[in-house]
């Protein structure tokens, strides 16, 4: 056979092809008849089973859904990173660099001193979890600062209590908006971290829940004096204050005390008309500014023209523990205050979104800037001692009590 294969494979296939198995067909046909009945029955049973399982699934699904919506579980998520660092006060370059870093990455450090280390300035800030890239860039830059004494980075977590279904939806499928941390819980967690670091004399206020930004303030009576006037020395009387328990909410009085420097008369610089701002404490929770404008000296006087008085900015500490700055019906939320500036933010009027008060070191001059979309209003002020104006304002208040009521 080997010779055949070169030309033809048929000789090999033929035994299989021509194989006749018809003799067994009648038996197979009987088997088919028998099995056909069983197959028919099984098909019916299969259909029944399929229908039953369909109903079972249809009934179990809503139960499962209700249960998954009812059962609540706790899930720990990171809300941000708390960065604590200190710089030797002699390193002026580092302070400048830090200032430019804050501008570049739009974050704000809270500066504070500690009694046992008067030559070191301490800083603390919190970066929300969604800005982790920014954090790594900031820390990279911080590490190369001269005089950096310690850099402590801690993650701040918060617990989300939500249903099993919501967890599946948010965590597994990554759909929808995740529950935001509750302010109180977040503050507690930050406080715990601060306590662990021996910084429990700092208090925290949430300035913008939506963005998750956090501001730090001191519970001391004169918080900014800690960083401005008493940089080097802290009295023994002040020391116990550092060990005080953190207070989430300060009294209105305490809150408004950081604006105390405003009280009194300020003359507006670089304006053709003689203009003064007179800040007055109306009560424990309201500071009001009165704008006193003298008529243009170039105009012809008719009769006895006194100065024109109107209501300017007002600062109000509300019951909801937030400080609000108002002017002409626009309100700005207090963001932060340090020795050089005070910031307020408005989220509803883009044209006047930000108010920034920049203070000179001697606090005898300051600048108020309202900025927003294509808008910048700057007012420069200098301390004035004209006592006569105080009486004019008081007379004005007596004549216009509705203005105070409105405040």
């Amino acid at each position: 056979m080997p010779g055949n294969i070169e030309n033809d494979l048929d000789a090999y296939w033929d035994p299989i092809r021509k194989r006749n198995s018809d003799h067994s067909f009648p038996a197979v046909a009987d088997w088919i008849r028998e099995m056909h009945k069983s197959v028919g029955r099984s098909r019916l049973e299969k259909r029944k089973r399929r229908r039953r399982s369909k109903w079972f699934i249809l009934s179990i699904l809503p139960v499962f859904f209700i249960l998954s919506c009812t059962i609540r579980i706790n899930r720990v998520e990171s809300s941000g990173t708390l960065v604590n660092f200190s710089i030797d006060k002699k390193e002026d370059n580092s302070f400048q660099k830090l200032s430019s870093l804050q501008q570049q990455f739009a974050f704000t450090c809270y500066e504070f001193l500690q009694a046992d280390q008067p030559t070191v300035a301490f800083f603390i800030f919190l970066i929300p979890d969604k800005e982790q890239k920014t954090l790594s860039l900031i820390t990279k830059q911080l590490k190369i600062l001269n005089g950096l004494q310690k850099l402590d980075i801690n993650s701040i977590n918060y617990t989300i209590r939500e249903s099993l279904f919501s967890t599946f939806w948010h965590k597994t499928l990554q759909l929808g908006d995740q529950q935001k941390p509750k302010g109180e819980e977040l503050i507690q967690n930050i406080q715990a971290t601060l306590k662990g670091k021996g910084l429990d004399f700092l208090s925290i206020s949430i300035i913008n829940d939506e963005d998750g930004h956090i501001a730090f303030t001191s519970t001391k009576q004169y918080p900014d004096s800690l960083t401005i006037t008493n940089k080097n020395v802290q009295s023994d009387e002040e020391k116990p204050l550092q060990s005080d328990k953190i207070r989430n909410t300060a009294t209105s009085m305490d809150r408004l005390q950081i604006f105390e420097w405003l009280l009194g008369l300020w003359k507006v610089k670089y304006v053709p008309q003689k203009t003064y701002h007179y800040w007055l404490r109306i009560n424990d929770s309201i500071l009001q500014c009165f704008v006193i404008k003298y008529p243009d000296e170039g105009l012809i006087k008719i009769g006895d023209d006194g100065p024109d008085i109107s209501a300017g900015f007002s600062i109000r500490h509300s019951k909801s523990d937030s400080t609000i700055l108002s002017l002409r019906g626009i309100e700005w939320k207090f963001l932060l205050a340090n020795d050089k500036e005070m910031l307020f933010k408005n989220e509803t009027t883009p044209k006047s979104a930000n108010v920034k008060w920049s203070l000179a070191d001697d606090r005898k001059t300051w600048q108020s800037a309202i900025s927003g979309e294509q808008n910048l209003e700057v007012v420069n002020l200098i301390r004035d001692e004209n006592t006569g104006l105080e009486n004019i304002v008081k007379e004005f208040i007596v004549k216009h009590p509705e203005l105070i009521k409105k405040s």
Partner: protein
């Protein structure tokens, strides 16, 4: 649509021997060929109501035979043990379809050579040589997209088989 067993028998009768030959060529073993035929006939009986065109009975049945062959003789243990369907109805013992085992030398050499080629090649060449299917039908049964792939597979397998049979016969004569 309910179809009678007689319809099935009627359609099976002309291709019965052909189907058995196909099973033998694929499995190269009469016992396994019987198992494959029994399993495929049960599957075909279950699906018979779905067959709309009786003229397509042959390619339909051979497609089932081929798929069952792949399913039953998968090399993967997982597939073999867990994916194979088991029938949940009582089965009647399948009749004896082979009288005696053939000792034909040519057939033995061919079956041995068939065992040395891949499953796809084996199915393609057996469908062509034993099943007498056209290239297009083989393409459909094997679920291939390209006809030229089937053509080249068959011609390649033929050459391979020739070489293998030569080698097998040499060893047989040396013995």
């Amino acid at each position: 649509m309910q179809r009678s067993s007689e319809d099935f028998i009627e359609l099976l009768k002309p291709i019965y021997s052909n189907a058995i030959s196909y099973c033998i060529a694929l499995t190269r073993n009469e016992t396994e060929a019987k198992d494959l035929l029994q399993d495929s006939l049960l599957k075909a009986l279950e699906k018979f109501t779905a067959l709309r065109d009786d003229t397509k009975f042959k390619p339909w049945l051979f497609t089932i035979l081929t798929r069952r062959y792949y399913a039953l003789y998968q090399k993967s243990l997982i597939k073999k043990n867990f994916l194979n369907e088991s029938y949940y109805f009582e089965t009647v013992e399948f009749p004896q379809i082979f009288e005696k085992e053939t000792n034909e030398l040519n057939q033995k050499a061919l079956l041995e050579a068939l065992g040395l080629i891949t499953e796809k090649e084996r199915v393609a060449i057996v469908l062509f040589e034993v099943g007498d299917f056209s290239m297009e039908e083989i393409r459909m049964i094997q679920g291939e997209k390209s006809l030229s792939a089937v053509k080249s597979r068959i011609s390649r397998t033929r050459i391979k088989l020739k070489e293998l049979i030569l080698a097998i016969q040499k060893t047989l004569t040396n013995r």
